[in-house]
């Protein structure tokens, strides 16, 4: 038991140090909603969930088979990752939830980033479900969500909000619109509005994609962190990892919080 605990701490610390290198991690920096003039980038719009690197290529392949609907994060999104270690999945452009021109909006230049050797590969963020797998009204709602995400990418937050709300009206039991509306509220520093929306998304994802569920909880952690409620934030991040242990964002946040204020419970549950 002690060995496992130590190993878990070591893994968290390793991730934290790797993420500290990357300046592209809004969650790793925390309090992203407070950054003045901050633009949305791909990572904001697509919940992040990356898997720990397998030891060899075969393991990597098997990971792909487990999540056939995942898409790989592109080079702009995770510039610090070695492209050799990415899983061969469809590009982000294929995902309806991600606009391909987001980097222009965020002003990032992926070529400036030097990839580093890393034991981590990206299994890709959870993507919005395929439209043809949904009921008609859910398909319509999802298209509104997609448009809302694009509006967020261009910083048209009012339009994004209207689109997400329209999506909720059309399919009130679809979680993605709540998630993004909660994210939007967080960006506007409307923390008390963000929390019930993110909780709603979490509940609706109970029987859904656990990576998304993990992300909904992880953003709750970010809300609490923004509010300065660090114990609650830790709790949320830990919970997020229970749903999806590969949620690197939650891991890094936990590691960061552990660094700020050591806490005996800041151990990733295995």
């Amino acid at each position: 038991m002690h060995y496992v605990k130590s190993l878990a701490i070591a893994v968290v610390v390793l991730f934290a140090s790797l993420l500290a290198i990357s300046e592209q991690q809004p969650y790793a920096q925390g309090r992203f909603a407070r950054e003045p003039g901050r633009t949305f980038d791909e990572e904001d719009l697509a919940p992040d969930s990356r898997s720990i690197a397998p030891e060899d290529e075969s393991a990597n392949d098997s990971g792909d088979e487990e999540r056939p609907d995942s898409t790989i994060a592109d080079e702009e999104q995770f510039p610090d990752r070695d492209s050799q270690t990415r899983s061969p999945m469809p590009s982000m452009e294929e995902s309806p939830s991600h606009s391909s021109d987001h980097d222009a909006a965020s002003g990032k230049d992926s070529t400036d980033e030097s990839p580093e050797e890393s034991p981590i590969v990206t299994s890709g963020p959870p993507t919005l479900p395929e439209a043809n797998s949904l009921l008609p009204q859910e398909q319509v709602a999802l298209s509104f969500v997609t448009l809302g995400v694009e509006a967020m990418g261009t910083e048209d937050l009012a339009r994004a909000r209207a689109l997400f709300e329209r999506a909720i009206e059309i399919a009130p039991l679809q979680p993605y619109s709540y998630f993004f509306l909660g994210r939007l509220a967080l960006t506007r520093e409307e923390h008390q509005k963000a929390l019930p929306l993110l909780r709603k998304a979490e509940i609706l994802l109970t029987r859904g994609d656990q990576a998304w569920r993990s992300e909904a909880v992880s953003v709750q952690g970010a809300v609490y962190e923004d509010l300065g409620e660090l114990p609650q934030a830790r709790k949320a991040y830990r919970k997020s990892l229970r749903f999806f242990p590969q949620n690197l964002r939650a891991m890094s946040a936990l590691a960061r919080l552990a660094g700020e204020e050591p806490h005996s419970d800041d151990v990733v549950p295995q």
Binding site: L135, P172, R199, K200, T206
Partner: protein, 514 residues
């Protein structure tokens, strides 16, 4: 307060220029005379006003599908914009009304009232203004969108919007608030006392309060002895509910009622817990929307956007949501209310063919003056009230008068729709129990009830009556946050909670075993 509002409503009816144009002139003249005497107007103004003719406002045509809602919107606009803007701006108002649902509700209300009058001829009235009335409001709990508003039987006869203006006693519709308070208090104290499976005595008792006594009686004076909280709510047992309320306290119950959305002042005496307070159906819809929306109260949103003729947006009303009670508490009550439709006073909805997962509660007042049914699916809350404006007795319960209208409406609007379930939030676990003992069900238990528990408070002991020591049936964990293998569980057991009663052998129903 209630009495004065009621008197005011009656006066409005009597003084209506539409119905009694002969009465309005003397009344107008009297008011003008008093205004002159008090110096509010000059003698010249008085004389000029006397000469004016009264032109009744033209009512919306009968072709208008939602006249009560139109009035409601008009009133909201007058509070938001000056008259000059309303008259000249050519406002375009995007509302949340769903005309398909509105039409279905209109049909359900009309047919429902006609069937009641046909079946119970004593309910028929010859004077149109005194006819049996009903109102219906349907709300989307996640957005606060008002999908349907039927304010009365016939707008041309009565423009009184019973959804927003009629303050009526709630009856047993209020009981879920008592249970919600009890469960949430317990959650805070963690004493393990009040759970859905906890026992409470359903026996005659007297509540002494501030020097007075109150003895709530059950329907037909039948008492069931020790019952679970679930059964007390499912069968709407007054004595058990009042006993529970006494344990919980009036002030916390009142506070919970305010939190979930009741705004009318509730009485300060014990009968409040059995629904003696008078509220509007609109408030009831908001309160139960909070339950349906996992404890998050949404601000009602009849208007989505207002723009002027040139398309410029003047006002936009987004979704406003506030977490007012924990999601776990809201789900616990919803789970209890699912049982009302499955086995309790609302089971007629199932017998009438409504099959979608839903929770609901009947309500009947002491003198049978008000019949309520409020029920909800995960994405639609519908409140139906039936009664007389003159507060005469219906002689019918909520299940007899209001439930058929609710069922008819819900069947229409959910036809062909996928069956969405209520999803337990984090912190709640569904555990199969033996309803007789409240302990974990075993393979030998004749009947199994899937009960909701707060995590950590699940019964640990296997059923002692039907084979203690036998490995319990596997828990249907929905959230199980502490277990990483949750995903497999979810996938392995879809649809948990749909059929809470899982009969093993053909025996008497469990609720008849006590």
């Amino acid at each position: 307060m209630r009495r004065s509002r009621s008197s005011s409503d009656h006066f409005r009816q009597r003084a209506s220029p539409l119905r009694h144009p002969d009465r309005i002139i003397p009344r107008r003249n009297y008011v003008l005379q008093r205004m002159r005497e008090l110096g509010h107007i000059s003698p010249e103004e008085y004389e000029a006003a006397l000469k004016e003719t009264i032109v009744p406002r033209t009512l919306p045509s009968e072709d208008n599908n939602a006249p009560y809602f139109a009035d409601f919107i008009r009133k909201a606009l007058t509070e938001q914009f000056p008259d000059s803007t309303l008259a000249t701006a050519g406002l375009r108002v995007a509302t949340s009304l769903d005309l398909r649902l509105q039409d279905a509700a209109y049909v359900a209300v009309q047919k429902g009232l006609q069937e009641l009058e046909k079946r119970y001829p004593r309910l028929q009235r010859s004077v149109p203004e005194e006819q049996l009335q009903a109102c219906l409001i349907a709300m989307q709990p996640q957005t606060g969108a008002i999908r349907v508003m039927i304010g009365g039987r016939d707008y041309q006869t009565s423009q009184f919007n019973r959804v927003t203006q009629a303050h009526r006693q709630l009856g047993s519709v209020f009981k879920p608030i008592v249970f919600l308070t009890a469960l949430s208090q317990e959650r805070e104290k963690r004493e393990g006392r009040f759970l859905p499976s906890s026992r409470i005595a359903d026996t005659p008792f007297t509540w002494s309060y501030k020097g007075e006594t109150w003895s709530p009686g059950n329907y037909n004076n039948q008492y069931l002895g020790p019952v679970s909280l679930r059964r007390a709510l499912e069968l709407s047992l007054n004595a058990a509910t009042a006993r529970l309320a006494q344990e919980v306290g009036l002030d916390p119950i009142r506070q919970t009622a305010e939190n979930v959305g009741f705004v009318s002042p509730l009485p300060q005496y014990p009968s409040m817990v059995l629904g003696a307070g008078e509220v509007t159906p609109f408030e009831v819809a908001v309160a139960f929307s909070t339950l349906a929306n996992n404890g998050a109260r949404t601000v009602p949103r009849p208007i989505k956007q207002i723009s002027n003729q040139s398309g410029e947006t003047l006002a936009q009303h987004g979704i406003e949501m506030e977490q007012v009670i924990p999601a776990a508490d809201a789900y616990m009550v919803t789970h209890l209310l699912e049982g009302v439709l499955a086995r309790g006073t609302g089971r007629a909805a199932r017998e009438r063919g409504f099959t979608h997962p839903a929770a609901g509660k009947t309500g009947t007042t002491n003198d049978y003056g008000d019949a309520w049914f409020v029920g909800y699916t995960p994405d639609l809350v519908t409140v139906v009230w039936v009664g007389f404006d003159q507060r005469q007795s219906l002689g019918l319960s909520g299940a007899q008068a209001a439930l058929p209208i609710w069922t008819s409406f819900m069947k229409r609007v959910t036809a062909g729709q996928p069956q969405a379930e209520f999803i337990p939030p984090p912190g709640v676990t569904l555990v199969p129990i033996d309803p007789q003992t409240g302990e974990r069900a075993t393979a030998q238990c004749p009947l199994v009830l899937e009960e909701a528990f707060y995590e950590g408070e699940e019964p640990q002991q296997s059923c002692s009556r039907h084979g203690a020591g036998i490995v319990p049936v596997e828990t249907r964990a929905e959230s199980n946050n502490d277990k990483p293998e949750h995903e497999e569980r979810f996938n392995a057991q879809p649809g948990a909670g749909q059929q809470p009663i899982l009969p093993r052998r053909k025996e008497k129903p469990w609720w008849q075993l006590f």
